[in-house]
Amino acid sequence: MNDLIRSSLDHCVKCTICESFCPVSQATPLFPGPKYIGPQAERYRGVGPSPDASVDYCSGCGICTQVCPQDVKIAEINSRARAKLWEGRRIPLRNQLIARPSVIGRLGTPVAPLANWALHNRAIRALVQRVVGIHRDAPMPSFTGRTFQSRSRAHRNGATPADAPTVVYFHGCGTNYYEPRVGEMVVAVLEHNGFRVIVPAQDCCGLPLQSNGNFPAARKYVQRLVANLAPHARSGVPIVSNSTSCGLMLKREAREILGVEDEDTEVVSRSTFDLCEFLLSVHQRGELRTDFRSLPITVPYHAPCQQRGHGIGKPALDLLALVPDLHMIELDVDCCGIAGTYGIKKEKYDIAMAVGRRLFSDIAATGADIAACDSETCRWQIAHGAGVSAVHPIELLYRAYGLGAADAPGAHRDLPLAAVGDRSTTAGNGAQR
């Protein structure tokens, strides 16, 4: 497989379609573009270290591969080139740190109030930028103090019969440490539709390590995760994820980028569904409950680059079209810029914001104060850049089902919809500035 990925460069006809779409090379001359860095430069990457480090400015959004009509695996080639670049070098502390969200999560959760204060303190952030290299203005989520794993263990759903169809919920680190409320909404919507939801113990999928060029560590993480999920997949239980990038890791990237080829990965890949993809398939079978209440608001929707990588269309829009009076606006920008950990780095923050500029202004042009997006880091970036509240589509479905009615009074507060309990994460840094 790895050789097939690399040898796909021979299909490149230098048509420049990837260059036309690449959001990063439009935003900075530091990245010479996917064609140059990918199929062209790869020919010259031999045994020794490469003298050209510009591949590190690729954000890994993957748009190039998606639009290439010749099936050249440009983003995959570039991701592997970045890993090779770092092979012979010491990966900076920062890139080691931000690439391990579950380690950060475990450290920050017990001291959430203090950690959150520090994350949003201007002086401390300035110091962190100087010492660690995380940009002082980069959007940062807030720890909630109680993980989704912990919450889900306390959750009982008496209403679901024992023989109900089962799904495994892969929530990812963002939901676990920063947005557990999103996880609760996922579970509530699935249970509302008659599913029994299993939340197995799970750690990071390794994607941030992969993006930061540490393949050996990334492989360890993903193989451990896959080993946990594989027994469920083998017994025919679908794995559902609300994190588009982590879901894509399981579906494709572990195999195509990290080169993890084993039966566990294969079966998990086939059994993994993006949350909205899964719910839409339930609807297409005529089995989704459509007892939606009216939701008379306008919400621009951004399908993030990693969501596009699934090749599933925009199931969130198809689902939300079922909600009475909900007006969704489909945005057509490929990437918000953040690309996981890319946009929080000191030297890349401005590039990420430049990439996202058109998205931010398109959101602003809708006049809406809430936007929907499937991916967590993209939501944080949108909240930061566009100054709106950014929610996962599941939150709109959750509200439309009237499931929020059970929340404590006052939970809705001032928002027409709210990232209830997670106000600070969805509003992100935008609210702080």
Partner: protein, 427 residues
């Protein structure tokens, strides 16, 4: 339940078919391996530029002579009225781009290397470059922009065969100091969406122009506000200003793609990039669902009808394998016009009659791929664009015309077909 049709391919033929299908009330999904030739071609609609090596002044007057030489050409599968209707429809749907022209006469525009190129339908920003009336032309380039060479254009044009005498000269400007990096058309185009670049261009050109000279600029005059920029340049320079295609990427092509996909989005069409159509499930001679490989496996898109617009050899719709066999890559449809395995496939010179040229999928009058007996392979499968057999677009200058006309006609053929309900989706 709404009628869902699946279009395979996101080039001009696929995008056209999809948009036209929405006008017939279909819900449409486009599945595509990647973007199409819109990003490479200059965004003009070239219906018929050459017949037997002779330049065509009027497409409508040349079809009879053309069909005598190319009896199996894709244009034979659509009515002349349909080609006309497609051009009119296209101009109306993309009114913002200001397409002008038609089948009556070809305009004559300069290519990126200064060859006079016949084209039937041309976006507003290029019309001023019509060479037919002759006159004085100046081509303006930017130092460091490697995809546009004004002196090459001017030099070649003075030797080009044109109906009236013309003069052409070149001017090269140094761009404002700017962190442009490797100077590409896309980055330049974004600069021209800003006032600063327009002002700079006007100021730099004012004292370099001779009276009555028309100004040809590389086609990088903006992505989102190109028409506005072009109009402002004409007004302020008080003369005809026009865009000349550059080497790829084609900025006018990007505008065309953006305009078409914006309309498709508004019509609720889902465009899924980075996936590969790999086959179909069929029953009773009709396709019920298209199988599409995506990130984790193969999914099925139920389809009332299917438009195959996957392109020719260049886009992978057709493939020539190492044994010399030409195949259609999605449904393994019969291919016509391909030299038999073992016989000569390529002539030594590019513009020779290439034995492999013209191979493709043969279709009936509803653009349905047919078998050796002329019977449709599937009752609800239609083909459009470069995959069709019988055309040699680079010699005929007919590529975009075929894509537009057959994409449009395929959708209209589907409208005539009986509507059945969606099949069940499966994974």
């Amino acid at each position: 339940m709404t009628t869902q049709s699946v279009v395979i391919g996101a080039g001009l033929a696929g995008l056209t078919a999809a948009l036209r299908l929405t006008e017939h009330g279909h819900r449409v999904v486009i599945v595509a391996r990647g973007a199409g030739a819109t990003h490479l071609a200059p965004a003009t609609v070239d219906v018929l530029g050459y017949v037997g090596g002779e330049r065509v002044d009027s497409p409508v007057a040349s079809f009879d002579q053309f069909f005598a030489r190319s009896p199996d050409h894709p244009y034979r599968r659509v009515a002349l009225a349909q080609v006309e209707a497609a051009l009119t429809w296209f101009s109306a749907r993309l009114a913002g781009l200001g397409y002008t022209g038609g089948l009556a006469e070809n305009l004559l525009l300069s290519t990126a290397i200064g060859v006079a190129r016949p084209s039937a339908l041309v976006p507003r920003t290029m019309i001023g470059g019509d060479l037919r009336a002759g006159g004085r032309f100046v081509f303006v380039g930017f130092r460091g922009f490697k995809d546009f060479h004004p002196s090459l254009i001017a030099d070649n044009l003075t030797r080009a065969q044109v109906p009236a005498p013309l003069t052409a000269r070149a001017v090269e400007l140094a761009l404002p100091r700017d962190r442009l990096g490797d100077l590409g058309g896309r980055r330049l185009a974004e600069r021209f969406d800003s006032r600063q670049y327009r002002d700079w261009l006007v100021e730099s050109l004012r004292d370099k122009l001779e009276p009555d000279e028309r100004v040809g600029l590389p086609a990088v005059l903006g992505l989102r506000r190109a028409e506005e920029t072009w109009q402002e340049l004409e007004n302020r320079l008080e003369r005809h200003v026009f865009e000349v295609p550059t080497l790829p990427p084609s900025i006018p092509g990007l505008r065309l793609f953006d305009a078409l996909t914006a309309r498709l989005r508004a019509a609720g069409v889902r465009v899924v990039f980075g996936v590969t159509a790999v086959g179909a499930s069929a029953h009773d001679g009709r396709i019920e669902a298209v199988a599409v490989a995506n990130a984790s496996g193969t999914v099925s898109y139920p389809a009332h009808s299917v438009v195959l617009a996957s392109g020719g050899f260049a886009s992978g719709g057709l493939a020539l394998d190492s044994r010399g066999v030409t195949r259609e890559t999605v449904f393994d449809l019969p291919v016509a016009g391909a030299p038999a395995a073992g016989s000569v496939r390529f002539a030594p010179r590019y513009f020779d009659d290439q034995p492999l040229a013209g191979s493709g999928v043969p279709v009936d009058d509803q653009l349905r791929p047919v078998d050796a007996d002329g019977k449709p392979v599937f009752g609800n499968l239609h083909a459009a664009g470069a995959i069709l057999a019988g055309a040699v677009p680079w010699k005929e200058k007919s590529g975009t015309g075929i894509s537009l006309a057959t994409g449009y006609a395929a959708a209209d053929a589907i409208r005539g077909a009986p509507v059945t309900s969606m099949a069940e989706p499966v994974r």
